[in-house]
């Protein structure tokens, strides 16, 4: 890693400027970037560390909505009581990324922009309907989370754009979310499959809104609209859950690799989506 230049801009504008340089890479927590540098998969000339930008790691509540700084660590997210209460699925997904040590550094911004199909927080954020706040030379723009990943390792962000924050919408009453993943061990693995579900119920417990997203079953995390539709109008009866499972299985286009076979991933994606839907429902009722 000879000749890597480390920059720690003090503002978003400075960061955007630093990214004009060829071979510059944004770093938030660094838990993916440093691994890639170590094994030679990434060879940046300049590392632009966002963490010294004021507010970039903050979590704040704004009229019921939450703004999560792109570089907020998993540990900080897990410690934020308001966020935990409003978006338990997003928080549990963020907290599943890596070990305690990795939690001390890993961020939602990094997890999304690393663009791994198996990123834990992404299905949960998509299910939650989260939006990204993106800064570039021409100012800020917003985009839904599902619009960011385009392929493994690729995003729709321009080279000189910086993901600054996530915006989680204000929670309706009777709503809840959940994220589940399957790994062979209890910790430390990359998700073989992940599923995030967010639901809103009416006072009678009937589902009025639902978003279902699955990870590690396609080149990017998928928003499975048919799976959400299967729940809407139901009270989570077996028929609706079977429909949800079928929709997820139909949407899944996994590969077989060292972490799991395509067949296994498809089956388990459906199982996890159903389980997550039920947890989300229970949370919505609580």
């Amino acid at each position: 890693m000879s000749g890597v230049e480390y920059l720690s801009p003090g503002s978003v504008a400075e960061a955007v400027k630093a990214l004009q340089v060829e071979g510059a890479r944004v770093m938030a927590g660094g838990t993916d970037l440093l691994v890639q540098m170590r094994v030679g998969r990434a060879k940046p000339r300049v590392v632009v560390d966002l963490k010294r930008i004021p507010g970039i790691a903050d979590i704040r509540e704004q009229d019921g909505a939450f703004i999560i700084g792109a570089a907020a660590s998993g540990a900080a997210i897990g410690e934020h009581e308001g966020l935990r209460k409003a978006w338990p699925g997003v928080v549990e997904a963020a907290n599943l990324i890596g070990s305690t040590q990795v939690q001390g550094r890993a961020s939602l911004g990094g997890n999304l922009c690393n663009a791994s199909p198996a990123a834990d927080s992404v299905p949960a954020l998509i299910a939650a309907g989260a939006a990204c706040v993106i800064a570039g030379p021409k100012g800020e723009r917003e985009a839904p989370v599902e619009a960011i990943q385009t392929a493994p390792g690729k995003t729709s962000l321009a080279a000189n754009e910086v993901l600054v924050a996530f915006r989680l919408p204000k929670r309706a009453v009777y709503s809840g979310d959940a994220y589940l993943r399957l790994i062979p061990r209890t910790e430390m693995d990359i998700a073989v499959v992940g599923a995030g579900v967010s639901v809103t119920l009416d006072a009678s417990g009937k589902c009025v809104d639902a978003r279902v997203s699955v990870g590690a079953v396609a080149p990017t995390a998928l928003l499975v609209e048919a799976a959400g539709a299967a729940l809407i109008g139901s009270s989570f009866e077996e028929v609706a859950l079977a429909k949800l499972e079928a929709a997820v299985a139909a949407a899944a286009k996994p590969i077989s690799d060292k972490r799991g076979t395509a067949e296994y991933r498809t089956k388990v994606a459906a199982v996890l989506a159903r389980r997550a839907a039920l947890i989300a429902r229970d949370r919505a009722k609580a």
Partner: protein, 161 residues
């Protein structure tokens, strides 16, 4: 190669060292500051042998760039004992024979310290999940978990809440 001067606090002492832009904190600790107690088992954040505490947060020193340490407070295994007095965790690791080869031990101790700093009375399950990022291949974790639980009890006695 562009090396920058970094000023930080390591185990309570101010230090100044030169860091390359792509150099990890672990390499800086080991090669520049000669604090070789933090170990490299993988270099990719998967084993925890390089666990250190930075501004109160447990991190893998291999997953942090050395220049990021500017202005930070870093705790390493070399600072765990207080003026030659073993920390209750160190004491209990020895009492329980919670180490065999001892290579993962510095990381396990720092991770355990970070746990007990924020949770003085963890359950066995909490200890196991907190330490999941610290691989030990020798012990099967049994004695490690017992040592951490007993050290927690020692610390609770020392400092009644």
């Amino acid at each position: 190669m562009s090396r920058k001067v970094v000023n930080a606090t390591v185990n309570g002492e101010p230090v100044e060292f030169l860091a390359g832009g792509g150099q990890s904190l672990l390499d800086a600790l080991r090669d520049e500051l000669r604090l070789t107690g933090s170990k490299e088992g993988c270099g990719t954040g998967d084993c925890g042998a390089c666990s250190v505490i930075v501004d109160g947060r447990l991190v893998c020193a291999c997953l942090m760039l050395a220049p990021e340490a500017e202005g930070k407070r870093i705790e390493t295994i070399e600072g765990l004992a207080d003026n030659g007095h073993l920390h209750p965790l160190q004491h209990q690791f020895l009492e329980h024979a919670a180490l065999q080869c001892g290579f993962c031990t510095p990381g396990l101790l720092m991770a355990s310290k970070a746990l007990l700093d924020r949770n003085p009375d963890p359950t066995e399950t909490e200890v196991r999940y907190w330490l999941a990022g610290n691989i030990c291949r020798c012990t099967g974790y049994d004695k490690v978990v017992r040592a951490v639980m007993d050290a927690a009890a020692d610390l609770r006695q020392e400092k009644p809440r």
